[in-house]
Subunit: 318 residues, 2 copies
């Protein structure tokens, strides 16, 4: 069976089956945003992400600075998704021979920028030649008082997201049409804001971590990521279309392009907001979009109609 048939999630499940049975020090492993290891009296988090030119980024509309920023941002988002604080970052780069040293310095300047903003130390890494495109592989450590997994959602919990969704997918759509790099985001134009959300996502931690029962970052898309929580927690979910938070910028541009902004918010990826479950009356600035049920996965439309949803979103191997 080719990977294009089995899909990324199928492969991860297969690999998890092969790697099960770790020692008791391992609190979370394959299937969460980061692994969590109990070391002494600390919970150490470790996450790895790989970004490949032509798959995850396009240098025709991303500067090296923006790419470096996003490279670390997606790793920080994984640590936040486990309830952690990020610590040390290790960047491994596979670099085509034709690249200029200044390009890689610019990439590091972007990494350093978000590292400084987030209290992350850039601690090491590896460089090697790549025979094809640029390959970035990053590992970020973190620490968490309480490790929040995908598997803790309980019937009766509310479902929350920390930020608007769909902006990144629309930003990508606009960038693909533009096919030029943006050097400055100082313009207040809605298009610029949406493109920035795609190019330089700025993850923020969730509040009130002690009340949160499960969490994931929205990288594959809301429906796909909520499905991961349902899978790992063995629960169902009901969400409401009219509660999905959509930015004014997305709503405006989507109308002008005749695109449904909520479809983008449900299925577009790379928002790097946090999706979590918690008691419905929790004090939080996050948007409550639905609730956890015993089973089934449904979305209620604006007229009250109920339809099952599938984990639709971006699938790497399809």
């Amino acid at each position: 069976m080719r990977l294009s048939g089995i899909g990324e999630f199928g492969l991860i499940k297969k690999l998890r089956d092969m790697c099960s049975g770790g020692p008791p020090g391992l609190l979370a492993g394959i299937g969460d945003d980061a692994a969590a290891v109990r070391t002494g009296n600390r919970n150490i988090l470790i996450t790895s992400d790989m970004m490949i030119e032509g798959v995850h980024f396009d240098l025709s509309f991303t500067t090296f600075y923006q790419l470096g920023y996003k490279f670390l941002a997606v790793n920080i988002s994984d640590i936040f998704a486990m309830g952690g604080r990020p610590g040390y970052f290790f960047a491994s780069l596979g670099i085509p021979r034709s690249f200029r040293a200044a390009d890689i310095e610019e990439l590091y300047t972007g990494i350093k920028k978000i590292a400084d903003e987030s209290g992350v130390t850039v601690a090491g890494g590896d460089t090697c030649a790549s025979e094809s495109g640029l390959v970035l592989s990053g590992t970020l450590t973190g620490e968490a008082k309480k490790v929040i997994k995908r598997s803790g959602a309980k019937e009766g919990d509310g479902i929350f997201v920390t930020d608007t969704l769909g902006d990144s997918a629309m930003g990508l759509h606009l960038l693909k049409k533009r096919r030029r790099r943006i050097r400055s985001f100082s313009s207040p134009a809605p298009r610029i804001k949406l493109m920035k959300r795609h190019l330089m996502p700025a993850p923020r931690p969730a509040e009130n971590l002690s009340a949160i029962t499960s969490m994931i970052d929205v990288s594959d898309g809301l429906l796909a990521d909520l499905s991961h929580i349902c899978d790992e927690s063995r629960v169902g979910a009901v969400i409401h279309r009219d509660r999905i938070p959509v930015s004014a910028e997305l709503a405006g541009i989507a109308e002008s392009l005749n695109i449904d902004p909520v479809e983008l918010a449900l299925k577009g990826g790379e928002d790097y907001a946090l999706l979590f479950t918690a008691p419905p009356d929790i004090r939080t600035g996050a948007f409550r979009i639905g609730g956890i049920t015993g089973k089934g996965r449904f979305i209620i439309d604006e007229k009250g109609g109920k339809a099952a949803f599938k984990p639709e979103g971006y699938e790497h191997f399809r």
Copy 2:
């Protein structure tokens, strides 16, 4: 300036300059085999290595099982080089769509094999599509009572290597001529042993760690890696050609091919033996090949002639 001009070591130096000034918890960073972080009362080690198809491996003569084994082996070697015990492994894979799921399972079987042999837990990772070749990026954690860096060598120390050198380079040479995979290493033929050393290196820790002043694993080649120790420790070195350990298998095949085996031992990479410095009278099973001096880097030939050496070895960007 293109990367092909600056070279890998030049780039690492530049990046280190950009990333200096970490917090006091960081014991070792860019420029060592692994980063070391003080967490509570523990020294946590973290290393990352990237392997790219067409640069670091060739699937025309490497099985997926052997590749998985080596992928983790090179990371274990980095942890041993810091005086550590390996812990948790995180594998990120960029996989071409045309690959079969069975290939990736075979790769994981190789990872699992050496993980089980070495007490490593395969704890997580990431898979994504690659538009070109297979990309492996691994992160391995470890723990060390005492962190051994490249920078601790002292004038008067002996220079030691833990295993024979040059076998892997000769194995690679033979594999490039053969261009077929080897499914079994049960033959006692010297060629098979050398090819195995290249395909499935089996790193072992050094003994008597408390006496060791600096250490590195021989991945770039002896001269290059000894130069790293001299650079970081700000010392010189003298080594003796006739003390460089060469296996009987390498000596035999090299003679039949009219190749100088010591040249391979000095400049060939990927041996994954350990190169360390320690007081010259240390109790060890390792081979003492020379000594640390105040400055200068020299090699003494079989007739007593002395010549300066340069960090010749495999250079990724040249």
